[in-house]
Amino acid sequence: MPETTIIQLFVFLLASFVGLMTIHRVPPLLHTPLMAATNAMSGISLVASLVLAGANHGWLGTIFGTIAVAMAMANVVGGFLITDRMLAMFKSDNKKADKAAK
């Protein structure tokens, strides 16, 4: 097994732990935005799709690459927009309570 693969396995292990730790702290209140957010972030496969679409490996690779770019891009654009739209709806009651107190 090449050395880079070993290093990648370490990266995978550590990233998984970071993910489990941080996401464990997200309250159920925000689970739907969380899922929409990770969906948007999974659009990172755009990084791999771009290379395939631009590498000129023949028509098959270019077609697959271009469709992959479109799919990943749709997730990035749609994912970030919908998450933001959703989070904008989560409003606190505090302002109202402050007014009532006065």
Binding site: L30, T32, M35, A37, G58, G65, A70, G78, I82, R85
Partner: protein
């Protein structure tokens, strides 16, 4: 040299992504978290455009424009009620991108004779996970949208045939590692994985969808991880791992909330045998449901000090979020305190009900998780149950022969009194009879949720 810059840009992007998830954990800062993630994405994408393998840009532009055109309406115009199928569709998109990259990279490696076992193992895994996520997600979206029957579809030898397909996929993976340029096997694996995706979602019923959608999220993440291994790309490994972790945590949370194991969801086909078992103990409750008029119900709500509203999926179906918020506002105006008790599986995906109520204008500090609200029912005057059934069924705590025994529930029966709104005196989604509705402190308000809520609000106003 450029490669080092690209790698450093990925490092910065990874920092933003991880920090984004951390900040996403609190409603006050969540929006800033998303902006951080978007910045990380921008950095990673721009850096990638300088990748040494990219020699032409016209198809990249085509893909980006097409993707943005597809993504914009999916982000701006999809209603919040359709969120579960919207998310399922984007799992399919992400997985399709991963699958196509896997196929394209394999084709490239094959034509240039650059295939070694490790590389092909990662690509094969990528196509396997990607393929089953694509068809699985499309099936899930179809069921959630109602294009496909919501009922579990079963056929004889279902589990056996699934296991055989899984066995073929694993055998194919091993074969590919031994003989990396056996391309027909690669195609067989793709077809098998597409078939597996269809077959694992087929027997799963509508109510189990939250688990499935979460699980597909995890698979999509792992497909990205495999892409990262195949292309020596750490940012893909990191983000894929974060995505996978989130999917796994949510699947576990959902399974727990539904009192099911993963294996049970995937291989169980709930509806078929459990309903038969449920018919037995149901008769034991005896007693009668006592109906209440909306005038009386409104009076009790108007003069209650502490009210807890339990919204169920029935509320979302009748699109009555706004009416329930109006009712809550009216009770608050009269000096009562209103909270919403949110069961983890109240919607069709994790946290769905919170979004629906937030959209209707309910402040998020009124939306209380199950564990927290369960301590408060004893001091609650009136609980208003709207279209929820199994999640408030005390049999889950008290009746070991009930099919939902052990499921965590909202302990509504501890409150002083309960008003349950229900379409009619029928059974719930899982076909289990609910003792709560026969309890002497429970009054039933039959009818369409939306109509009843409008009426209640009108009468609370006059009370």
């Amino acid at each position: 040299m450029t490669d080092i810059f690209i790698q450093l840009a990925y490092l910065v992007a990874a920092f933003f992504f991880i920090n984004a998830l951390r900040v996403l954990g609190r409603p006050e800062t969540a929006r800033r978290g998303m902006q951080m993630a978007a910045l990380g994405m921008l950095i990673a994408v721009v850096a990638t455009l300088f990748h040494a393998r990219i020699i032409e840009y016209q198809w990249i532009v085509v893909g980006i424009v097409a993707g943005a055109a597809i993504g914009y309406p999916l982000g701006m115009f999809v209603p919040m009620t359709a969120m579960p199928q919207r998310i399922a569709i984007s799992h399919a998109f992400g997985a399709l991108a991963a699958t196509l990259v896997g196929l394209g990279e394999y084709h490239h490696g094959f034509t240039t004779n650059h295939l070694d076992s490790g590389h092909v193992a990662a690509l094969a895994l990528e196509v396997l996970l990607g393929g089953l996520t694509v068809t699985g997600s499309i099936m899930a979206a179809g069921k959630l949208q109602g294009w496909l029957p919501q009922k579990p579809i079963t056929f004889p030898f279902q589990n056996i045939s699934n296991f055989i397909l899984l066995g073929i996929a694993v055998a194919g993976l091993v074969w590919m590692i031994i003989v990396p340029d056996a391309w027909p096997i690669f195609i067989v694996m793709l077809i098998v994985s597409l078939a597996i995706g269809v077959l694992i979602v087929l027997p799963i019923g509508g109510a189990d969808m939250p688990v499935v959608v979460s699980l597909l999220n995890a698979y999509a993440g792992l497909a990205a991880v495999a892409t990262g291994f195949a292309l020596n790309n750490n940012i893909l490994i990191i983000v894929g791992a974060l995505d996978g972790a989130s999917g796994i945590i949510l699947s576990i949370a959902m399974s727990k909330a539904m009192n099911r194991s993963f294996a049970n969801v995937l291989f169980g086909a709930f509806g078929s045998d459990a309903t038969a078992a449920a018919a037995g103990p149901a008769g034991a409750t005896g007693g009668e449901m006592s109906a209440v008029s909306s005038e009386d119900a409104a009076l009790r709500l108007a003069y209650a000090k502490r009210v807890v509203i339990v919204p169920g999926y029935g509320l979302a179906v009748s699109q009555a979020q706004h009416q329930v918020r109006e009712l809550a506002d009216l009770i608050e105006k009269r000096g009562g305190d209103v909270k919403f008790a949110i069961h983890p599986v109240a919607g069709r995906m994790p946290g769905h009900m919170n979004v629906l109520l937030a959209e209707a204008g309910v402040a998020y500090d009124k939306l209380i998780d199950m564990d927290e609200i369960n301590e408060k029912f004893a001091e609650t005057d009136v609980v208003l149950v709207i279209g929820a059934n199994d999640v408030v069924n005390p049999a889950a705590n008290s009746n070991p022969s009930s099919p939902i025994y052990g499921m965590p529930i909202l302990k509504v029966s501890e409150a002083q009194s309960v008003i349950a709104m229900k379409r009619g005196p029928g059974k719930g989604f899982s076909g289990v009879e609910n003792d709560l509705f026969f309890d002497s402190k429970t009054s039933m308000l039959f009818g369409d949720a939306k109509q009843s809520l409008i009426q209640l609000a009108a009468e609370v106003k006059e009370a």
